[in-house]
Subunit: 277 residues, 4 copies
Amino acid sequence: MEIKSGDFVFLLSSDNKTFLIRAKEDKIFGTHLGNINLKDAIGKQYGEVIYSQLGKPFIILEPTLEDMMMKVRRLTQIIYPKDASLILLKTGISSGMRVIECGSGSGALTIALANAVAPNGKVYAYDRRGDFLENAKRNVKETGFSDYVEFKFREVEEGFDEEEVDIVVLDLPSPWEGVPYAAKSIRGGGRIASLSPTYNQVEKTAESLSKYGFVYIETIEVLVRKILVRTGKTRPAERMVSHTGYLTFGRKAHGLMNQYDDVIETKLQLLDTNEQG
Amino acid sequence: MEIKSGDFVFLLSSDNKTFLIRAKEDKIFGTHLGNINLKDAIGKQYGEVIYSQLGKPFIILEPTLEDMMMKVRRLTQIIYPKDASLILLKTGISSGMRVIECGSGSGALTIALANAVAPNGKVYAYDRRGDFLENAKRNVKETGFSDYVEFKFREVEEGFDEEEVDIVVLDLPSPWEGVPYAAKSIRGGGRIASLSPTYNQVEKTAESLSKYGFVYIETIEVLVRKILVRTGKTRPAERMVSHTGYLTFGRKAHGLMNQYDDVIETKLQLLDTNEQG
Amino acid sequence: MEIKSGDFVFLLSSDNKTFLIRAKEDKIFGTHLGNINLKDAIGKQYGEVIYSQLGKPFIILEPTLEDMMMKVRRLTQIIYPKDASLILLKTGISSGMRVIECGSGSGALTIALANAVAPNGKVYAYDRRGDFLENAKRNVKETGFSDYVEFKFREVEEGFDEEEVDIVVLDLPSPWEGVPYAAKSIRGGGRIASLSPTYNQVEKTAESLSKYGFVYIETIEVLVRKILVRTGKTRPAERMVSHTGYLTFGRKAHGLMNQYDDVIETKLQLLDTNEQG
Amino acid sequence: MEIKSGDFVFLLSSDNKTFLIRAKEDKIFGTHLGNINLKDAIGKQYGEVIYSQLGKPFIILEPTLEDMMMKVRRLTQIIYPKDASLILLKTGISSGMRVIECGSGSGALTIALANAVAPNGKVYAYDRRGDFLENAKRNVKETGFSDYVEFKFREVEEGFDEEEVDIVVLDLPSPWEGVPYAAKSIRGGGRIASLSPTYNQVEKTAESLSKYGFVYIETIEVLVRKILVRTGKTRPAERMVSHTGYLTFGRKAHGLMNQYDDVIETKLQLLDTNEQG
């Protein structure tokens, strides 16, 4: 794994700061511990050390998906890895799938979705804000995932172009406005995920999902707590992020509700949360 | 997405019970709401409904990775989706990678790892218990991931056969015993993840990781809380799983510690938990 | 502290079961580890051991307020110690105060309130259900707090008899219906506390509190997690109660809102949550 | 409840800042919203409004126990209300009791203990640091609880003077060093509480409690999460205090362990955590 010009490096300083940047022959990168000549990284292996001009060591790590998500240029609140990872697992997203993301924001989740559908799948990333879309596009390009993402500048009320997609992810202030369009674009058995900070949004979203033929609906919140591990004095960190948003998931029953009058009652009953931990 | 004989179906009953089974022409499947003739599912689309002999509806859903993990035959405690999903994201596992899993247990995480490395990568799944290994092998085979997993019946003290792997996952009672072997088998910049229920295990594991040249070590716990969403009466569920285990992550600095005396001090300082949420 | 006939004993068995009962000369008490002759406890000190007729030891502990709350006969969900203790502290209830409790349920919180106001204060315990009230009365009597509690069989819509009380505690399905009456009965600077399981109730309650002249309104939830401490294998318990209810607190600004038009805007701004942990 | 000179007032500004101070004829108090002439508060009722010289309104609230604890002058980390309130309830502290507090720090918990034992009980507050003790003494005096507290400047290794106390509270870096002395000073059936930030401290403390004849030992942690209640957009606060310390409780079995050889085994079995939520 010899590092070549243009490869990403994730530099770790002795005071545990990290920097995500591409190795380039002619690039000097300034840090609080002195300038780093990125040419020094080229030809090295990941895990080796380079030094700043002040002689401070930096370990060259290989960026993970999480690193790339956390280091995007942010114009919006991003979807955190703790939430993104459960969206990926619970929607069952995998290579080759076609995914609509509505409300791509700064593109952090877009990158994670693109990584999951590559190399044959596609993410259709919609946003109503041109400036957000341009920024997300840039973030996706810089992390090397442009081939798997198609950006669309669009209001949610104009609907989605795609049909029979496998998964829809909604990150909207009013997710329930996107649900009817999601229901049209998603194939039977496909999954939907929605992220919202308030319980009021969650209530309306769950109602709408039920109305538009989604079943097996569940809402969760994910809390991640850091543990400070020191031999003989280990304890949880004193502060934590206690809320980002609630995640709501559902799965598409085939066709529109009115074609299935006989099972409407069933489906409404199914608007329940299953028990597994 | 017409369902064919041999395809998995994930049946959802009106009382929110789920069943994972393969559709087969000649298979009758008994449920608490009557027998289901699985022939009925063949030729249907995911999202459609079939009925038991008692006339009870079951929606045919498509199983996700989570569904398959939760439905494996269990001889051991499995790694829950909430933990597995962060292991996947934080190790940056992706298609084509080579991964050692030591302590494959019932194979739930093995399935998730295999899904992530497919189609060109490989999971080397070690376990010291023959009965566990046979069960995991069966679970992996039944879910269709056998091509991406190589099982090995082995005590951790005998080490791993592979070199320069991208990722090692330890699910052992004494993870620190696996760390020296992991350090030998993992490439520079590669990631390690370990899951342990007690604080004491975490302390010893973090010490060992630091000693054997891992950096950027962090320990977290993940809590998932269900929200019962009902219009006008939404609240968290009354009970939850409050603990499965702590997740500890690290990344391999190149070479063994004693070849890098000048950076040992640096690395020890790096045994710190970073701040991102 | 010699135990006399009629004193409470809190018996602890070797398998960590507990029993709250009064010592009596002629009482035989059946347990899963054999019958206990309660005469044996008389004349002993708290902390000593008595034996069942099967020779099994029971340590005689002195019941705490928590023990008495948890052992009341329950016809309703009780208010848990984790919530009751913060209600006590945050309302600043203390000896001599006059307190209205509306929705006394099984009387667990009534006991805690009575203990706090004794010996010169009084708890006015309202409930609309006669059967609940009788049960609460019995529980309060059995734990010896009858002198400090006056029970009232009443619908909330009929209001409260008391004026200028120090504290009002609402445990109602529709707390907002009790708020206007609480506002009339509470003195300036007095505190109100309300417990509700759903977010929707909390929203309406906070709105109502603000409308009726309460300020410094805050809503919290309390989570208590058990740690299983074993040398060398310490970890959190695997399951926990993740939700009982949200606690909402407020303080009465003097007079009714319409007498203070000039400060209405101020008070509305004060409907904010303070920052202390 | 007319406010007199010398009474505490808890002033609430329109931007939700709070100030704890005594009303005095000749005192001017500076705030970010202008100076307040505290003479204005005298003769008012709690709940009324006074104005700064800039015309900004401040509601005069009555300080609760929590307010006084949070506003002490801090030389140390204080025990938070969430923890203090459960210490009060679970130890069953009440009027007339005698309590040892070892490690009185800034005196926040001392105030809460004093409030609970008044008017006939006593808190014996030990600390090894003279500067801490002087500060705690000042805080206790200013909040009016001096009559119920006796301060002692002492190393824990010198033991406690009191015998047959009802409750001991340990807030020490090495609580297990205080346990043997606590065991000597506490009466049979009396309760002990210990607060420690690390799990390592908790393990040693629980071992020591068991060794010195305490039973019904349990360790918990308390998490308080703020909910931001706004009609139509209610959600948990984004950040929270995720750790202050673990609380460990126990109860004294009568006499020293070696006098009870026949029940030692029983007691060791009792070192278990009970199940109630």
